[in-house]
């Protein structure tokens, strides 16, 4: 019977250990579902490199036809 108890307790303790190691260190940006912080910071830094895209002005440019 002691062996049986061991068989039951071992997986139970494994589960308990596993649930303690649940990773909750997902970065706050992802947890909050808010990625706007990146663009805000970029603007605060004076770097606005999200925008300029020649294909938005003229899609006839050869590079734009490769991956519209």
């Amino acid at each position: 019977m002691k062996l049986r108890r061991l068989f039951i307790l071992l997986p139970l303790s494994l589960i308990a250990c596993n649930s303690n190691t649940v990773v909750d260190d997902v970065p706050p940006q992802i947890q909050s579902g808010n990625d706007s912080s990146s663009s805000e910071k970029m603007d605060a830094d004076g770097v606005k490199d999200r925008g300029y895209d020649p294909c938005k002005i003229n899609p006839q440019l050869e590079i734009c036809k490769k991956n519209p």
Partner: protein, 185 residues
């Protein structure tokens, strides 16, 4: 077999089955947790690229220089791109020449190399499944695509200079598609 022995046997059988079921559930749960942890590590690695992009002084300086350079040339570039009299080939040739001239004039070579290398490392990280693709796309796809679309003439220029068609091939393939067809002959 008396009643006590029968009950003992029942408990033994039930115990064995129960422990087997718990073992299986524990195993599946463990695998699930392992995969979840792996995914979280991937997200974390991707976020270190975001931090580097925003906080690394060399990267910031390179981005600022590129941004300022384009700002100074934006009217000319827009006028060229909006010229309806030009055929597609002429337009591309003139745009290529303007961008190469801009890179040389504003000494953007080192800044471009730095940013392209940054994206190259990110692409390797995603392709090796060490970084999370969704996070990488969410934070970098727009910037990377527009940067390559703007400065691809410079990539073509150094490929020609170095006689190496594989220069920055990984980022071109990842963000544009076909690597071999971006440069005109």
């Amino acid at each position: 077999m008396n009643k006590h022995e029968e009950r003992l046997q029942f408990y033994e059988i039930t115990g064995t089955w129960l422990s087997a079921i718990i073992m299986i559930i524990g195993g599946v749960f463990g695998i699930f947790q392992y995969l979840e942890h792996k995914n979280d590590v991937r997200i974390e690695r991707s976020m270190t690229f975001v931090e580097r992009f925003q906080d690394n002084t060399v990267t910031l300086s390179a981005r600022k220089n590129l941004s300022q350079s384009i700002d100074g040339k934006i009217d000319e570039l827009n006028a060229l791109l909006s010229n309806k009299d030009l055929k597609a080939e002429e337009l591309s040739a003139l745009f290529d020449a303007e961008i190469v001239k801009l890179v040389k004039q504003d000494v953007l070579t080192e800044h471009l190399k730095h940013i392209f290398t940054f994206y190259e490392q990110l692409v390797y990280c995603v392709e090796m499944e060490l970084c999370d693709r969704d996070v990488a796309d969410m934070f970098f796809e727009t910037e990377a695509k527009s940067l390559i679309r703007t400065y691809y003439p410079y990539i073509c220029y150094i490929r020609k200079e170095w006689h190496n068609t594989e220069v920055y091939a990984s980022i071109v393939r990842f963000y544009i598609g076909e690597n071999s067809e971006i440069c005109r002959e």
